[in-house]
């Protein structure tokens, strides 16, 4: 696959078309019907949750939120390949991958409500919390990859970044280190065409991102990121490549951020309606749904019913997060160090004295 789709040939890897028809039989993966339906349901759940989260933000119930809308197949495909022992090193637009790892919506909501406790992700094995400084997490992925090789483990690291992030030095340094170390890291670039307002063509003069893999001495492939079959095939091949000790792979997943960068952003300032509509027909859920319907594996009726159930579940978890115990003063201090320095204890005590004074003044 990595020979046939060597990025030097500028050929994007695609398996189904925008109507869900198979156009690349050679690379159509074998996936059981059950697994495929589960993948669709997971993407549908992520989309339902994502859209609802934006509306919670509009209602003032959470703070800033970066939507995933339109990019669900990338996390969805990764979720199908990623195993419990594998690592997930996310950026901040991979809800489906977080959930597949065992993170809960409640935890994600807590973070966006402004509580660090959400970052514990206690049922998610081998997953780092969100990294906000762009691309910085990719170096961590290379370091985890080193540990895997060092201890001769059979694990893969799935590390995410956006197209904007590929301009940061950390992106290039991470690729270089991982390739030198032959670290089992799959770098997945969600190329959603914009870094906030900056279009991809202003991010790099290169023909794309996947082609950059060649200079680092690693495999790379440009994939239609809204084609779940192509993404699954690419991630699966990449993970086999890494597990066989052949080093990292760079996957450029072409997609489109249908929503805003975050809820603080207004995309109408920098892109046109025509452009948004042109990308609409590539929607990843729509394409998989059309495929499933054509195979009589799915119906709109089923979907409508399921979405209603999902909405209730999302609301339930959101309310749980809203009812989370109030933030305490000690929560500010207690995780700063393994053992709290005396001076920090004193700062906490002094603040407690202030709170008593404040209470007494009332």
């Amino acid at each position: 696959m990595f020979e046939e789709y060597n990025p030097i040939n500028e050929k994007i890897f695609r398996v189904i078309d925008n109507d869900g028809k198979v156009i690349n039989k050679k690379w159509m993966p074998e996936i059981s019907n059950e697994r495929l339906i589960k993948a669709y349901k997971d993407m549908l759940f992520a989309r339902t949750a994502d859209l609802q989260t934006v509306s919670y933000q509009r209602q003032g119930r959470i703070y800033t939120y970066p939507p995933n809308y339109g990019q669900e197949a990338i996390s969805g495909a990764t979720a199908m390949v990623m195993r419990n022992e594998d690592w997930l090193v996310p950026a901040f637009r991979e809800m489906g991958a977080y959930l597949a790892k065992g993170a809960t919506l409640k935890e994600l909501f807590l973070v966006f409500m402004g509580h660090e406790d959400g970052n514990v992700f206690k049922n998610a094995n081998n997953m780092l919390p969100t990294s906000v400084p762009i691309a910085s997490q990719l170096l961590h992925a290379a370091g985890i990859g080193y540990e895997i090789n060092y201890n001769k483990k059979k694990q893969v690291v799935y590390a995410f970044v956006g197209d904007g992030g590929t301009s940061e030095g950390d992106f290039h340094e991470a690729l270089n280190f991982a390739a030198v170390w032959k670290a089992p890291v799959i770098f997945i670039v969600q190329n959603n065409q914009y870094g906030i307002s900056t279009p991809f063509k202003m991010q790099t003069a290169s023909k794309g991102i996947a082609i950059k893999s060649i200079a680092y001495g690693m495999k790379g492939i440009q994939v239609d990121g809204n084609d779940i079959f192509a993404m699954y095939q690419a991630v699966k091949n990449a993970s086999e490549h890494a597990l066989a000790g052949n080093g990292p792979v760079l996957i450029e997943a072409e997609t489109y951020r249908k929503g805003a960068h975050t809820t603080s952003d207004d995309p109408t300032k920098y892109r046109s309606k025509e452009e948004e509509e042109a990308w609409d027909c590539t929607d990843p859920l729509k394409r998989l749904k059309l495929y499933l319907i054509s195979k009589k594996l799915w119906s709109q009726k089923e979907e409508d019913q399921l979405v209603e159930e999902y909405k209730l579940e999302v609301d339930r978890q959101f309310e749980e997060a809203e009812n989370y115990p109030a933030y305490k003063l000690e929560d500010v201090f207690k995780y700063m160090y393994d053992e709290m320095p005396d001076d920090l204890k004193k700062q906490q005590n002094e603040y407690e004295n202030f709170m008593k004074w404040k209470e007494a003044r009332k």
Partner: protein
């Protein structure tokens, strides 16, 4: 402002935009760039309209790389331009620290004065906006600690305009930190024409006799609210707006403390090695025998700024500032 000057009501975003507009118009060496500053006009809309007016060669979106933004500005400044670059949030400026510490602050000295680092690095900073991680820090003391930099923080639209014009005209590099919490919270009449507020000069905002309070940026307003409580308690506060972190105006602070005998510093960042520590050291050196109480630092904790649910513990409220004023006066 002197009589006759045309005035316009501005918030800090308008005032900074106005300063950039004036300097772009009068000096073609001024170049403005950073992440999303062009088409979008910056995530806080500070550079709105400037690309349209001055073109993409002079106001533009860079690729997403803070180190590259500052590093290229070093080259531009060495070659004679006056870049004004934006770090989208101060918490994202850290990839640029290598360039700032290794070159921005040093090239003038390294080249024995041959190359000026005539650049401004603008960055919104500070807490109180219910933001995600890395969007709320106050690391001004850190920049103040780097020899070779000037560090400026305005607290009003008027000062923001005059200080930014001075910063762009300075042949030395200036870190221009913008208290984003009050970007739009304060409006005042600001002269439409060009004017300078000098770098390195603090301003006494109100005269008092019992205690000197030194603050800057968004904290000035919080201290002013605390002063209402202090007045009710019969305490007379002298408030100094520092305006420049470095070079620090020792004279103004020292003269005030010699009069009041007490000093409180109000700064949102962590306690240790911060602005309060620096000012306390200055007072110990310059006004030791005039002190009637130990200098008091009112600061955030030596912790990470908590996410919004816990941020209220960290932020300095008027009540917290008054509490410390009262304790110092009663010492």
């Amino acid at each position: 402002m002197e009589g006759g000057a045309k005035m316009k009501v501005m918030n800090m975003v308008n005032a900074i935009n106005d300063a950039l507009n004036i300097k772009l118009a009068e000096d073609r060496n001024v170049i403005v760039y950073g992440e999303d500053v062009g088409v979008e006009g910056g995530v806080f809309r500070v550079t709105e309209g400037l690309q349209l007016k001055y073109g993409v060669e002079r106001v533009f979106d860079s690729p997403l790389a803070e180190s590259a933004i500052v590093g290229t500005a070093v080259g531009m400044a060495a070659a004679g331009l006056r870049p004004v670059v934006e770090m989208q949030f101060s918490g994202f400026a850290y990839p640029a620290l290598n360039q700032i510490i290794s070159h921005v602050s040093r090239l003038h000295n390294r080249s024995r004065g041959r190359y000026n680092m005539s650049m401004v690095i603008r960055m919104p900073y500070g807490g109180g906006i219910n933001a995600l991680e890395h969007h709320s820090e106050s690391m001004e003391a850190f920049y103040g600690h780097i020899p070779g930099l000037k560090v400026v923080i305005p607290s009003t639209p008027h000062d923001a305009k005059g200080l930014l014009i001075s910063a762009i005209e300075s042949n030395d590099p200036v870190i221009f930190m913008e208290p984003k919490r009050i970007y739009r919270a304060i409006k005042q009449e600001v002269a439409e024409e060009k004017f300078n507020v000098p770098i390195g000069k603090a301003k006494v905002l109100s005269n008092g006799t019992d205690v000197t309070v030194v603050a800057y940026g968004a904290m000035v307003r919080e201290v002013q609210k605390a002063m209402v409580m202090a007045k009710e308690a019969g305490i007379s506060v002298e408030l100094i707006d520092l305006r420049t972190i470095y070079p620090i105006d020792k004279e103004t602070i020292t003269a005030s403390v010699k009069k009041t005998g007490r000093i409180i510093t109000v700064a949102e960042g962590p306690t240790s090695f911060g602005m309060g520590a620096e000012i306390a050291a200055i007072i110990s050196e310059e006004a030791f025998l005039h002190l009637e109480a130990p200098p008091k630092r009112v600061t955030g904790f030596d912790t990470i700024v908590p996410l919004p649910k816990g941020e209220h513990f960290y932020l300095l409220t008027p009540e917290k500032i008054f509490y410390e004023i009262e304790r110092t006066v009663k010492y």
